[in-house]
Symmetry: C2
Subunit: 158 residues, 2 copies
DNA sequence: GTGAAGTTGTAGCCATGGCTACACTTCGTC
DNA sequence: GACGAAGTGTAGCCATGGCTACAACTTCAC
């Protein structure tokens, strides 16, 4: 059994604490939103990465993208096809990948969010590499309200 | 373009900041770990929910699980099959679902992590419902190192 | 300019996780 | 105890996101 965080009231000794379940529709809504976030996570990472590659190297080639993501180039190409289908990117054969207006907007938003999450983690004492690692997953599940709170928190302790 | 967090150095006015890309193998490793976390997220949520249902109602039936997750009962049953396949749960037809030793260990760990993530979010000023919502996704991407940092942070400002 | 190497694209496979439709069991009520 | 409602299980569909294998195109070196 993992340790009890000290700021939480301990359960009455002897018997297990009855967990308090959220109301059923509330809980279903939460899980549903999490599933939605899941399905856009990959697109967000691609958009962010493509923007970075374009900014630094001038071009974003499927093979580079694949290598950076640690997947086969075939997988990358399939996801690039999805980006195109969803109006986030354009690509002509052998010419590299570019972002549409919508894609650039998404990339900028994702990038800002990514940085803010890393900064917040660092601020509460998470070691640098762990912060970078965890942020890569966490960023896709952070709502605007939470983002605002992160901003204010960082601002306050600057 | 989203707002610039004030604690970050602004890019030199006039030209865009060149993003600093992590080394390729580093970045690939990060994305890879995130993918792994993704694939266990669902099992974790099931284990946590089943434990809660068993603790409160004494039984965890596929239909209850499905309703709480907001999916069809057929989907729930398929994931329960995966839990069994991975040695986390047992279930005999029409008799409800139970956790194995391994399943209970997982559930306890997930539950503690979930609570800690919610508490951390609340502590940095995230509104209650947003904290609950976002934690449902974030929890699957929080490493032990990060969890420790959260603990210490909460302890320090208790 | 030609040939080899690297890049890109396509095809076909698998696992996961949704769904609906349908069949079968269990349970509660009368 | 019979019946109908609720719960459970199975089958078959789809999309996503991995993979390998192979084919076609570009590019670079010579
Ligand atoms: Mn990410
Ligand atoms: Mn990111
Ligand atoms: Mn969760
Ligand atoms: Mn949870």
């Amino acid at each position: 059994m993992p340790q009890q965080p000290a700021h939480h009231p301990a359960p009455p000794a002897g018997e297990a604490a009855e967990p308090v379940l959220p109301a059923e529709p509330t809980q279903a809504k939460r899980f549903g939103k999490t599933r939605t976030a899941q399905s856009t996570a990959l697109l967000e990472d691609y958009a962010e990465l493509i923007a970075d590659l374009l900014a630094t190297g001038g071009e974003a080639r499927p093979t580079d993208i694949a290598r950076r993501l640690g997947v086969s180039h075939a997988s990358a190409i399939k996801t690039i096809a999805r980006l195109k289908r969803e109006g986030l990117a354009t690509a002509r054969p052998y010419r590299g990948v570019f972002l549409t207006e919508a894609g650039e907007v998404l990339a900028a938003r994702v990038k800002a969010r990514h940085r803010l999450v890393v900064d917040l983690l660092r601020a509460v004492g998470v070691p640098a590499e762990a912060a970078e690692q965890d942020a890569e997953g966490i960023e896709h599940h952070v709502s605007d309200l939470t983002l605002d709170a992160f901003s204010r928190f960082l601002e306050a302790r600057k």
